[in-house]
């Protein structure tokens, strides 16, 4: 009955053909999304900062830019790192915008593919987070950082047999993977969800009498598109927030 449209094989929904280049420099749709996610914030910020020369009261683009800066400052840096973490604003703001714009392609018509549903971007960002939070710990606490991270103070001596391996694994091995996998799997799941409902809607339309329930399927598709917009924002927020938490934990090991 559903033979009209079959669920596409997985490589058709996540793999994209090369536009130009080859090998390690093959430029495809995902790379193009990365380019957009890079160039769009830069342009917005440049336009906004050029407008400050004539007008100090924000308007239009300036509001967008300022609210993103404010959001990262007030919702991410202050609760996780504290006031002394403002130096990490460029990193966290870049991370937030890069992930958010990459995610938004999931629901933008004609793109319909989140850049972060490929493992590449989340992995790169998670590794950068890994390097940055270890670097922050070393910078603020010196080599003592590893000691306080592996042997948390206030634990009975005998328990270190148990605590230290757990801390080693959870802090220095699992963190980047869980960070990357969280973002990647969320976006891939959303992507597959939307594809499932699209395919189901098309199949139902061509499925004779079953066409009458296709509006419900289509309604679900629309609803999940809205839901995925929320997920796109939330995942960018959570990724950045966790980066902030890791950096904050490295800077203030006492907590």
């Amino acid at each position: 009955m559903f033979a009209a449209v079959e669920f596409p094989p997985i490589e058709n929904i996540v793999e994209w053909p090369t536009w130009f280049g080859s090998g390690a420099l093959a430029f495809n749709k995902i790379a193009f999304m990365g380019f957009i996610a890079f160039i769009l914030p830069v342009l917005l910020f440049l336009i906004a900062s050029s407008k400050y020369k004539t007008r100090l009261v924000p308007k239009g683009i300036q509001n967008v830019v300022e609210s993103s800066v404010d959001f990262v400052e007030k919702q991410i840096i202050l609760p996780t790192i504290g006031p002394d973490g403002m130096g990490y604003l460029p990193l966290l703001l870049s991370m937030f915008l890069f992930i958010f714009i990459g995610n938004l392609f999931e629901i933008i018509p004609t793109a319909h593919m989140p850049a972060n549903a490929r493992m590449a971007n989340p992995l790169v960002l998670a590794l950068i987070t890994y390097v940055v939070f270890i670097g922050a710990g070393l910078k603020h606490n010196g080599p003592k950082y590893f000691v306080s991270a592996l042997f948390p103070p206030g634990v009975p001596k005998a328990l270190y047999v148990l605590v230290t391996p757990i801390e080693l694994i959870s802090t220095f091995l699992v963190r980047p993977f869980s960070l990357a996998v969280r973002l990647f799997a969320n976006m891939l799941a959303g992507h597959i969800l939307l594809i499932t409902f699209s395919v189901l809607t098309i199949s139902l339309v061509g499925g004779g009498i079953l066409a009458i329930i296709s509006p419900f399927s289509f309604g679900m598709l629309v609803a999940f598109t809205g839901f995925e917009f929320m997920v796109a924002f939330l995942q960018a927020y959570i990724f950045t927030l966790l980066t902030g938490v890791y950096i904050g934990g490295a800077i203030h090991p006492a907590h």
Binding site: I10, E11, V14, E15, T18, G21, G23, A24, L25, A26, F27, N28, I30, A31, G34, F35, A37, F38, P41, V42, F45, L46, A48, S49, Y52, L56, V57, V65, E66, V69, L89, P90, L91, L93, S94, M95, L97, F98, A115, R118, M119, A120, N121, L123, V124, L125, I128, L173, V174, F177, S178, F184, L188
Partner: protein, 182 residues
């Protein structure tokens, strides 16, 4: 678990030629890293500083404006208080002047009433004195006349003139007794 997972992934990738949806591809890692690092550098060096500067500048300006408004408010409050104080002073002055005038009027009235009263008392005194004098005079006259009549009547009775002066003392005594008895 994750180590097992990645080992599994690597094994699967080696064994088969089909694409693995979970493993990242090299080209995407390269481009993702390039664009993210570019974004980071641009944010750090070019994009964010002017925005932050403008925001800080505006915050400072707003703060300054707020403080200026606060100060102007305080000044206005001060002016109002001064004005109120002046007003209260003027009101007190007016009340004082009215009070003074009333006091002066009271004093003046008291003086006038006192003067009139003394004058009236003096006039009454004078009238009373005159009345007394007239009554004394009338009494004197009457007494003389009574004495005369009595003497005349007595002389008529005794057929000889009586010593008017001697009789007079008797009459006087009698009259005085009559007055006292009355």
């Amino acid at each position: 678990m994750l180590a097992t997972l990645s080992a599994l992934l690597a094994e699967a990738a080696e064994k088969k030629e089909t694409v693995n949806p979970v493993l990242p591809t090299t080209n995407e890692i390269v481009y993702g890293a390039i664009f993210f690092v570019l974004l980071l550098i641009f944010m750090w060096a070019v994009c964010l500083p002017p925005i932050k500067k403008a925001m800080r500048q505006r915050d400072e300006q707003v703060q300054a404006d707020l403080e200026a408004a606060e100060r102007a408010n305080a000044e206005a409050e001060q002016v109002r208080r001064d004005y109120d104080a002046t007003l209260a002073e003027a009101r007190a002055e007016a009340a004082r002047i009215v009070e003074e005038a009333r006091h002066a009027a009271d004093v003046r009235r008291g003086e006038l009433i006192g003067a009139v009263e003394t004058e009236v008392a003096a006039k009454r005194q004078a009238a009373l004195a005159e009345l007394e004098a007239q009554r004394a005079a009338a009494l004197g006259d009457l007494r003389d006349e009574v004495a005369g009549i009595a003497a005349q009547a007595a002389s008529q009775v005794v057929q000889q003139p009586l010593d008017a002066a001697a009789q007079r003392s008797v009459v006087d005594e009698y009259v005085n007794q009559a007055i006292a008895a009355r």
